[in-house]
């Protein structure tokens, strides 16, 4: 079922879900939404499953024309969405009629905005997921970002009777300054005590080299004990590598699955999602946390994610 026509693709818009699991051993990254919470929220607002595919919009939004009546929701990075030129709110179920034009401004805070469609986006499942992995050239719409004249297919689901909105205290604010909790290791022992202190007590800035694969950071040099390379081993999103130049690199969702730099620490599941909203010039501070402390926070977070649909307000 054709739901939208792409009039303008935006800067970098891809189809994403919660990712492709179980293929790291084949060299295939997990991919999926950079900001998990916003994707799940966008789906909840149109009564979709949490893993349904949405559009992930990066910094500059697309322009989309509705080819049928449907419902949508927009969450994540603040982007001033419009329907037929009229401003519409984010974090709410929105009604769209055939022929309507959905457009966006530039992202004002955060980096990535999520656009859900009632029933989810329908692209072929590749290895169990619809997530676009551009470097590998598969998933989403032909393995690439949206382009003009693409047709976004959906599923035929009955329209919602109710309209939902997110309680204000659950709407995330993206300040451009992020506290990221990390568990030290697996190669923290390759850094001097001074190096570890430098890492934990300074701010780091996201450079222009920041995309779905990872972010290079600028800031005080983190000191290695001796060598700055290891025999390549597995890396996951959230890993913080420090190559010889002492400047950290945060691994994100589309990164390659192995790497040869020592990992000083790994961000928690929760904060990987937060990092998904970081953009160039944003400031990141790393805070040490134990595995058990991280686990407690995660329990809270999953409780929230699982109960999100019950917590929405009916309008």
């Amino acid at each position: 079922m054709k739901v939208f026509r792409v009039i303008k693709p935006g800067l970098f818009t891809t189809v994403q879900d919660l990712g492709r699991h179980g293929y790291l051993k084949c060299g295939i990254p997990i991919s999926g939404a950079m900001d998990t919470f916003s994707l799940v929220a966008a789906n909840a607002l149109v009564a979709n499953n949490p893993n349904d595919a949405c559009l992930e919009i990066t910094l500059i939004g697309p322009e989309l024309q509705a080819l049928t009546r449907t419902q949508i929701a927009i969450t994540g990075g603040v982007i001033s969405p419009k329907i037929n030129g009229q401003n519409v709110p984010m974090w709410q179920t929105l009604e769209v009629q055939e022929g309507d034009l959905v457009s966006f401004g530039k992202v004002e805070s955060g980096c990535r905005t999520y656009f859900s469609i009632r029933g989810g986006i329908n692209t072929p499942l590749v290895l169990g997921s619809r997530a676009t992995y551009v470097r590998g050239g598969f998933g989403g719409i032909n393995g690439r970002q949206l382009k003009t004249e693409d047709i976004i297919e959906g599923f035929n689901k009955p329209p919602l009777k109710a309209r939902y909105s997110m309680p204000e205290d659950l709407v995330q604010q993206f300040t451009g300054q992020y506290k990221v909790h990390v568990v030290l290791g697996p190669q923290a022992d390759m850094f001097t005590e001074t190096g570890i202190n430098t890492f934990l007590s300074n701010s780091y800035m996201v450079t222009l080299e920041a995309d779905r694969m990872g972010y290079r950071l600028e800031g005080p040099i983190i000191e290695h004990k001796a060598k700055a390379d290891i025999i390549s081993d597995a890396i996951l999103p959230g890993a913080i590598q420090v190559p010889k130049n002492g400047k950290p690199i945060i691994i994100m969702r589309d990164a390659q699955t192995t790497g040869g730099y020592p990992k000083i620490a790994v961000a928690t599941i929760l904060d990987i999602s937060l990092l998904g909203q970081a953009k160039p010039n944003d400031i990141i501070e790393f805070h040490k946390i134990t595995i058990n402390q991280a686990r407690e926070k995660l329990f809270e977070y999953y409780k929230l994610l699982n109960n999100l649909s019950c917590m929405l307000l009916t309008t």
Partner: protein
């Protein structure tokens, strides 16, 4: 080599949702065999909360669901399984033959590798295909096998400036490693040949031809054979699995 094996094996946290079991600090068959053996054993054990295993040269990463298990529980369980490994027979290795056209437009760096080592191109090719290689791990891009190790006589440093595009199927050398590009990708390995086999297809299950622990042998073929295999491989008739 022996002193590069960790005694005891190191268990390291990887954030709040994974851990790494490190067997040593070297690229060696002995260490990698332990990785593969534990990988197989954990696959069979089906431990609750374990979501994914990623074997690499000298370590195994275990991704888990922190809501259904804990780091401590897993370490305890895996150490138990690790203890039983020494008694079990070595894991059986699949044998795969990779047909390769060496040199010319298929292997643009063969001449360089030969000159670098003051060998003839034929000698380089022979040294490369005569030996069996282990798939140590898959990484870099989907389906890229890291194979080891080539004889010292042909170990060659990477290109100083990587190529923007290395063709799918290209067989390269980087120091003592050899590998095969599954798709067109930027890369700095010295390309000595190309295989018509497709190493990665996301629409196939499993999506990769090779897996860690496999044994690979290269077989020199002619350009004509390359074309024939390319065609039969597309039809799914050609099988690289053999009783070597």
């Amino acid at each position: 080599m022996k002193n590069e094996v960790h005694m005891p094996t190191r268990y390291l946290p990887f954030g709040d949702h994974a851990l790494v079991i490190e067997f040593g600090d070297a690229i060696s068959l002995e260490i990698n065999a332990k990785v593969i053996a534990l990988n197989e054993a954990l696959q069979k054990a089906e431990i609750q909360g374990v979501e994914e295993l990623v074997p690499t040269y000298r370590s195994l990463l275990v991704r888990y669901n922190p809501l259904t298990t804990t780091y401590e529980q897993l370490v305890f369980r895996i150490k138990d399984i690790e203890k039983t490994l020494k008694k079990t027979a070595p894991v059986e290795s699949r044998k795969i033959t990779i047909p390769v056209v060496y040199g010319g437009e298929y292997g643009p760096d063969l001449t360089y590798v030969a000159q670098f080592h003051e060998l003839s191109e034929e000698q380089v090719v022979k040294l490369h295909f005569e030996r069996e290689y282990r798939v140590y791990m898959i990484g870099f891009v989907a389906g890229f096998p890291y194979l080891g190790e080539v004889p010292d006589e042909i170990a060659t440093p990477r290109l100083e400036t990587p190529r923007l595009k290395v063709l799918a199927g290209s067989v390269g050398i980087a120091e003592k490693q050899t590998g095969i590009y599954p798709c067109d990708a930027p890369g700095g390995w010295r390309i000595i040949g190309r295989t018509p086999l497709k190493l990665f297809n996301p629409l196939r299950q499993p999506p990769t031809l090779l897996k860690p622990g496999d044994t690979v042998k290269f077989k020199p073929i002619s350009e004509k054979e390359f074309k024939t295999i390319e065609e039969t491989a597309i039809k799914g008739v050609y099988s690289p699995f053999s009783e070597v």
